[in-house]
Amino acid sequence: MSKQRKAVALISGGLDSMLAAKTIMEQGVHVEGINFFTGFCVEGHTHAIRANDKAKPKRNNSLWVAEQLGMKLHIVDVIEEYKDVLINPKHGYGAHMNPCLDCKIFMVNKAKQWLVENDFDFIITGEVIGQRPMSQRKATMPIVSRESGADDLLLRPLCAKNLPATLPEREGWVDREKLHDFSGRSRKPQMAMAEQFGFDDYAQPAGGCCFLTDASYSSKLVDLWKARDGDKQYDLDDVMLLKVGRHIRPEKHFKIIVAREEGEGRFMQGYKKEFITMNCASHAGPLVLVDGSPSAEDLFLAARITARYGQGRNAEQVDVSITDKAGSERIIQVKPFGAEEIPQQWYI
């Protein structure tokens, strides 16, 4: 009796990795999923912070995919290790701060380590040649295989027929003829395949699965690094806070984060011991975090911005509460900034 072969599939929560895993499961291979959490994943429930997004399903799509496929899913925290990928990408960045090729190499390498530790036989990804301009091109496929150390243990079921046969194909663990030859940016073959398998509720992320592909998020990250004199180290709270609020930097040494709605305000409440916080005392208004080392004059300016985003924006005077990290509160009176008084270049 032949040995039951086992594959680990990189599962992003999107359709391609789902179909890749399904293709191999259909051939009788035992497949388990692996999903890496870098801190920048859109797949996290960042949307859930925002009360306005309550209508959106809050499911984690990688878990949903695993459940649809009836396979185990291992979610791995790679926040610390990922820093080096983001800060020093050998292959550079994409359109924004997205180090897509280095990221793919990193993740396949982590999957290879997992494979060795767990006695699995090969790795599956949902990559398709030509699907993405930076990381999924014909030229980058061998780079990912080689630099990740996975070499020919890396099988891309959706475009395998366009690539040299890998070990699982040569050894007959999978039938190459039942693999696919997808290429290019068209999603039609994947959608047809999804329909064939009865998958009709799969995720269709509009901007990819990573905040680093987002122009606004990338700007905030670059601003953070600049404000720290080029020190690119960060912690999880740094990257989480870049996902919420309106970010306004009047001066290099301090930044203001204004909650845009109730859900963000509630989330930001958790940072009251790490930041000076402000809110309007005489009117309703958002929670504001003040980051950096503001002077008394800076705090006065921040209070005027805080008042600008509250219900008293048109009042002559607004009471603004300022609470330091130790919890001491004082109230000052300010005139809210007018609509045109906050320079556009302050907005990050």
Binding site: G44, H45, A48, N60, S62, I75, D77, G270
Partner: protein, 75 residues
Amino acid sequence: MNRETLNARRLLCPLPVIRTQDKVKQLKAGDQLEVICTDPGVMQDIPAWCRINGHKVLETISGDHEYIIILEVGE
């Protein structure tokens, strides 16, 4: 039967799931784990993770901006 508590407040998914996954690895079949979270997404994600991995959700409690899931570790 051992019962433990995991504080996953202020963490956004999937971190509460990852912390649960890591904690469960340290427990034995039949042990119970109470996970306390603030991200409402856990009400969907932790039960999904349990179903996938053979653990049983005993109770879910939605409080005032706090969400508690009590699970029993499977075989």
